[in-house]
């Protein structure tokens, strides 16, 4: 059994002419919580979609559990995804189903368990995120943090071996954010999962992650444990970690000369 | 759970309503109703000219509908129009020397077939032909007849 659950090798990805990622090498060991960080719009979510096979790389390979994702058949891809839980940016709960039914969706789809067992399974998962009491609410009645927790329960209901989180903290208040952080760590350690967290919130991740990658300007500019990253002197890493306005990532979007633009 | 169940009932009701409408329309507003569940036998007859007679036109005796025209075609040899009718099996005592004429309801109305029973003892049965026929008289022929007293082929 390989030590790395996920392995991206020499990977490039482009939307038509526009290069998003170039020569990425990244591996994620089993059982760990790995953060992929970087400024907005550098293709962090693209990495997630490459891992789940929703996108195919222009060059290079994506391996999950020793199997190449981009060459998988549709059927095998779906089989692989049953073993992956994904928490999307805003939870993406089904708005026409209540909390209970939302969490039950993957179970109903992929098993023929009796109703009583489904109920028990769903309630256990909801209890784990502290929302057993909200079982009859509709998604529109939930706060952002609660919706995120329901989505977390739904993503982990089949006990996947890999959890992917896309910006799990975006738009949450401090209490909601620390709740999610603790849940990510707890589910990971309790279930022996591997977790990949995609985020731009530096401080929280430095606490949570075992290992982190920083992506900027199409490639990985820094990696290591949080301690190693703090000692990194690469200006791009320093800028991102400290949140400096100007630096290698410029404040200005590329433009023609200001004088020329204003004065003709 | 309960609300989902009631949605299914409503959907079922809608389907039922739609199917009822479908069958009701088919049986009351179309000629299917006059065919459904009624035994009939067919008779044929030949005319030099059927005028505006169309299939599904009523066939009557003494003004009462006893059947309908099923098909009108041209005999390729004699060039006579061959009319095939479906007659309700209730009326199975039509004598063999019955005559047929193509008549009109009102001046501009629809054409229909009128049968005039004769006095023969033998009766017509399925597939038989009525031999005594009178062709349709078109309105232009009528006018011509009265205005100019011209001898007409029709």
């Amino acid at each position: 059994m390989p030590d790395d659950l996920i392995k991206l090798a020499n990977l490039s990805f482009a939307w038509g002419e526009k290069v998003i990622l170039k020569d990425i090498n990244l591996s994620i060991p089993r059982g760990s919580v790995v953060a992929i960080m970087g400024p907005s719009g550098v293709g962090k979510t693209t990495v997630l979609r490459l891992i789940t096979g929703q996108l195919s790389p222009t060059k290079g390979t994506v391996e999950v559990d020793g199997m190449c994702v981009s060459s998988m058949s549709h059927k095998n891809l779906y089989k692989m995804r049953r073993n992956i839980g994904v928490l999307l940016q805003n939870g993406a709960l089904f708005t026409d189903l209540d909390v209970f039914e939302n969490v039950a969706v993957p179970v109903r789809e992929h098993s023929n368990l009796p109703e009583a067992l489904i109920r028990r399974l769903v309630l256990i998962k909801l209890e784990a995120v502290g929302l057993r009491g909200a079982v009859d609410l509709m998604p529109s009645e939930l706060s952002g943090g609660m919706a995120r927790r329901v989505a977390l329960a739904r993503a982990s209901v089949l006990d996947p071996s890999l959890m992917l989180y896309d910006e799990p903290l975006a738009g949450l208040d401090p209490i909601g954010a620390s709740t999610i952080l603790r849940l990510i760590r707890d589910t990971n350690d309790a279930m022996g999962m591997t977790s990949v967290v995609i985020t731009h919130s530096v401080e929280d991740m430095m606490e949570l992650a075992d290992y982190a990658y920083i992506i900027a300007s199409q490639s990985i500019v820094g990696q290591g444990t949080p301690e190693q990253l703090r000692e990194n002197t690469d200006p791009r890493v320093v800028q991102f970690l400290n949140g400096e306005i100007d630096g290698p990532v410029p404040f200005h979007y590329p433009a023609s000369d200001l004088h020329q633009d204003l004065l003709g | 759970m309960r609300s989902r169940y009631s949605i299914e009932i409503m959907a079922g009701l809608f389907l039922l309503l739609g199917v009822i409408a479908l069958m009701f329309l088919a049986s009351t507003a179309t000629d299917l109703g006059s065919k459904l569940g009624k035994e009939h036998y067919s008779l044929s007859m030949r005319f030099l000219n059927v005028g505006e007679l169309k299939s599904r036109a009523p066939v009557t005796i003494g003004g009462v509908t006893i059947g309908a025209v099923r098909k009108i075609k041209l005999d390729p040899v004699t060039f006579e129009a061959l009319v095939i009718m479906d007659i309700n099996s209730k009326f199975d005592q039509i004598p063999t020397d019955t005559s047929a004429a193509i008549l009109t309801t009102g001046i501009l109305g629809d054409k229909y077939v009128g049968l005039e029973p004769g006095g023969a003892l033998e009766v017509l049965s399925d597939g038989d032909e009525i031999t005594i026929t009178q062709s349709a008289i078109g309105i232009e022929q009528l006018i011509a007849k009265y205005l100019f007293s011209v001898d007409n082929k029709g």
Partner: protein
């Protein structure tokens, strides 16, 4: 973008849309594997799509029947042929107005809501979430709505025609004093089951496939923004109307000359 490039786009874009719709139609057919879950989903959609369109269909039908009778009665009375008013009404309803008007009302009432619903599911990443849970969104979201639409439209069309006949009969018999025996009797002897009733049925089935497909297609391939969803709903109504009227002509030609 250069000018030649946008000229090319004018040709390639509609072609690409056409190709994508053919592929999507195939995808829908491939994903149509009826099981208990799909059956329940279809039934629920029959309620949302069909049953909820019932009132508008029936009200419109009743008034269309009345106004049609009024108009043809006025003209027919000039020839002393008011006995045929039922025939005129029934033939125009069965052959054209029933299926066509129902299809247009359907795409305005149900088609837009299907397109908006699927478009919103796409914009809020619900479709993406399904894919990631290894659930085929075409099978669970698109197919039930499509099939329910295909089932509902012919039934709605029949109900429309029925109510229109009722409206017409009410007007002709109760207000204009046409004998009810003559009204219905002439209708029965002049409306063919094969030629008129079945034409109505086949047309409404074809329109059901068209209007439902355009609705799910516009929703599924919408640009996932508020603006995009708005355009998808507009597109549903406009494209459905055009395609339905063109196909109506083609079916009529086909069924009249064979």
């Amino acid at each position: 973008m250069s000018k030649t490039n946008s000229n090319m786009d004018a040709i390639t874009k509609p072609l690409a849309t056409l190709g994508r719709s053919v592929l999507f139609f195939g995808q829908i057919l491939a994903a149509f594997r009826p099981d208990a879950k799909m059956f329940r989903a279809i039934l629920a959609q029959v309620y949302f799509i069909g049953a909820r369109s019932l009132v508008i269909i029936m009200v419109c039908g009743f008034f269309v029947g009345m106004v049609l009778t009024l108009q043809s009665y006025v003209e027919l009375s000039k020839f002393g042929a008011t006995d045929s008013v039922g025939v005129v009404l029934a033939l125009s309803l069965f052959r054209e107005l029933g299926p066509v008007l129902t299809a247009l009302l359907f795409s305005g009432r149900a088609g837009t809501s299907i397109a908006a619903e699927i478009g919103l599911m796409k914009a809020t990443e619900q479709l993406s979430a399904m894919e990631l849970m290894a659930i085929d969104p075409v099978k669970r979201v698109v197919v039930p709505r499509f099939i329910a639409g295909v089932i509902s439209l012919p039934l709605l069309s029949m109900l429309f025609t029925l109510l229109a006949l009722a409206g017409g009969a009410t007007y002709a018999i109760n207000i204009m004093g046409v004998d009810s025996g003559i009204f219905w009797g002439n209708m029965v002897s002049n409306v063919g089951f094969q030629s008129d009733f079945m034409m109505s049925f086949w047309k409404s089935l074809a329109f059901g496939i068209i209007a439902s497909f355009i609705a799910v297609f516009s929703g599924y391939f919408t640009t996932p923004t508020g603006d995009g969803i708005g355009r998808a709903t507009t597109q549903t109504v406009v494209v459905s109307a055009v395609v339905v009227l063109i196909v109506d002509f083609l079916i009529t030609v086909l069924m009249t000359w064979t």
